[in-house]
Amino acid sequence: MRPILLSGHERSLNQIKFNRDGDLLFSVAKDKIVCAWWSANGERLGTYNGHQGAIWTVDVSPNTVLLATGSADNTVRLWNVKSGECVKVWDFPTAVKRVEFSPDGSRLLAVTEKRMGFLGTIAVLDIAYGNGQGGNLEAQAEEPTLKITCTEAKATVAGWSYLGKFIIAGHEDGSVSQYDSKTGDQVENVQAHEFDHQINDIQFSADRTYFITASKDKTAKLMSTRNLAILKTYVSDTPLNSATITPKKEYVILGGGQAAMDVTTTSARQGKFEARFYHKIFEDEIGRVRGHFGPLNTVGVHPKGTAYASGGEDGYVRVHHFDKPYFDFLYEVEREQLKR
């Protein structure tokens, strides 16, 4: 496979996201712009300009009408995907590290940083879609409808469960917790990863019944959304920044590498700047894809499972469209199963 290199950013990537149809790819980096790309050929559709600081996170609504971004300038901005205009700005006391639309697109969660005396919070905002033709998108609620305050360890990442029933959050101390998305009460809290090893990413399966966490403790875990049971553990040899579950084939993709500060002291070969593919069920590593010059900060997979993209500390997004060996690969037991 020939990767497509997207070099629209001048600084390290923070998050990339495919939309639900997989035709668009959004990327945010430490520079102040958001880029939208056609995933098929790597053409840049446009940029969303307006943020004043590094952008930590991006998410696109399920119908690809609105785009939300969270930034170090303490705002969450909502954009019109089609025109690139900013339609709404919400101010927060601290930086916003993660935003995500609920599965139906009617709500947006924003994870705020713990800093300057403010505790880390998860705020939930109601989202309206104007008149349905892309007009009047500016009419949005001013205040969050719900605010969950993390008193013990701040949340670093969060996402919505199936049907938007729970909010699943990953914490600084390596624990994962489940909040009721109506009341904001903590339902469960599990120390999924080693204590004090931050969870860097949470990504859900297509039906949101399970999710994968990536942590600094060099492991990724597949967990059930309902009861936070740990289903699978993928062990790697480097701190992980991101992990994703591939549709169509039963794999997971992990991205990581040394912390950015240690990178200059190691060669690219040792730095382990590779996307790692593990088999979702058997937990074996089945291959790696090289290419980045720095750690992978984020990986995302096409919702149809035909491509994946990775964003690195080196400022590049690499989009890979899978070719035949990827789809053909089967374990011996799987093959036997098929024969029957």
Partner: protein, 286 residues
Amino acid sequence: MSRPANRADWADDEEFDDPSALPPQQVTTNKDGTKTVVSYRFNDDGKKVKVTRRIKTTVVREQVNPQVAERRSWDKFGLEKGHAAGPSFDTTSVGENIAFRPSVNWKVQAAEEEKAGGEKGSMKDQLKDKKVKCRICSGEHFTARCPFKDTMAPIDEPTAGGDAGAEEPAAGGLGATSGSYVPPHLRKGAAAGGEKMAGKYEKDDLATLRVTNVSELAEEQELRDLFERFGRVTRVFLARDRETQRAKGFAFISFADRDDAARACDKMDGFGYRHLILRVEFAKRS
């Protein structure tokens, strides 16, 4: 360079018979449905360059949902506002091809590769069954530790270490044969040191076989299978005709190990493959 050529400026005198005018672009349609486009342009040095491109157009039809189709017609915005459709070169490029084939024993394969590629592993192998031998008394100790060091001169036996053979003393000691100075790169056995510069390409070359009289219908995978029995094959190159994609009749096979290559050369020379008799020899360095 695209300035109007008919301007009669005195400075332009020498260009008067118009070398700056470019021949028009020619487009010819080939039999196999491809197009050949011959165009001319000036390069950075102002020289005229002929560019021949062969273009094959394939139409891929894809069913997408109406929303996706509608999105394809969106205009560009932000920094891309007003730019033409299609990827632009400053943001989008295509990387090197990556061979990604998942496999169960990926780790083992990777380790093997590491071993072949890394200098460390092979050096260790080389030195594995090497014994220390004194140059003075041939005892099992370093020459410097020899009890007869001060009383005896080195034996006039050229070997010092096991496998390096006769070349050893020249590399270590200065040329004992004549009194004149021999620069390091001319000393016998010093070639190994110099070769390091070229890195693995050089090494690669040593274990590459040239196979001729290969059938037109040969496939790279088949050749790989044929040669893989003798050891790890790192590269198979089968020359093909650009037009017909048929094999041209020769191929290069690189082995990870020279010994394997030698064995393969021995065994496969004269091997009947696809009704032709293969001729296998070591590739000459060009």
